[in-house]
Symmetry: C2
Subunit: 175 residues, 2 copies
């Protein structure tokens, strides 16, 4: 849709369209509704990022926790959101060997145990090798560093989801 | 469930059970997960309230916006969450005359236009007369006062929803 149409949406339509640009956190879209009219898709993204940055730390952790494991239980059961399903497929996670799935799930479990939130990475900008590598190296980081890194990935995921929704001729598709 | 069982829940179960204690804002439950083990249901409520109070103002507005209108379009279409359905019924909103429905919807629309968020009141503690009266008087308040009032009602709604879920012998059921 064109940004002008976004600005004309009523609240319910806005949430229907943008409610999942931050996975399972429609409160983020609900919060930035006050900033309409938006100049362009970048401004929508900027307001969401600003809101996320101003959350108490527990809220940023909550955002990470709202994300599914990559190649995890929900993926196996076909219970991912449409957005996550597409993104995990784009990373090649739909074609893993049983051994690779077991390896990722084991590392995800370790990561989650260590940090209290799941490993989050922008799957559309990382193929499965990069994801495995990320799990291996990021698990050595401090909790603070991983909270910041995970949230940075959430913002990239959000931007790509926004570009899927809003027309963006002339706007950088890479952050 | 007993609070001990709550403390033993894995994250997915916790969100399934508590995700809607703040209407459509599972981020609130996701955020307070870090405070386990909880002593009792009151502590769950206190942590959620603290999280809500620490949100940027846009976030508190977003919480109000995530609530449905009383006797509104979604109620008419049967599209409310189970919790809202029960609460609106408890207030007697299931037995309104067409004239009463029209009156409430008109006042809801005025309120929403004036404040940018819907009129929120704890329906289980207010019968339809009190709700109509509330709409009439609260619409005269300042936006700041109504944001605060609406959030105070959200906290009451949340507490009653928590009491529906968690065993609470010996704990005040009124805030």
């Amino acid at each position: 849709v064109h940004i002008n149409n976004v600005n004309e949406m009523d609240y319910e339509s806005f949430i229907e369209v943008f409610g999942n640009v931050i996975e399972h956190c429609s409160l983020c879209a609900a919060a930035v509704w006050r900033y309409r009219p938006f100049k362009d898709v970048r401004q929508v993204h900027e307001e969401i990022c600003k809101f996320v940055d101003e959350l108490p730390e527990a809220g940023r952790e909550g955002i990470l926790r709202s994300h599914p494991d990559l190649a995890g239980r929900l993926a196996g059961l076909g219970l991912l959101t449409d957005e996550s399903k597409r993104e995990q497929a784009a990373a090649g996670l739909g074609h893993l060997t049983p051994e690779e799935i077991a390896r990722i799930q084991e590392m995800n479990a370790q990561y989650r145990k260590q940090f209290g939130f799941p490993f989050v990475i922008c799957a559309r900008q990382n193929k499965k090798e990069a994801i495995l590598e990320g799990l291996k190296t990021r698990i050595k980081n401090s909790p603070q560093a991983e909270l910041a890194k995970g949230i940075a990935e959430v913002k990239k995921i959000c931007y790509l989801r926004l570009l899927d929704i809003v027309e963006h001729e002339g706007i950088e598709s890479r952050l």
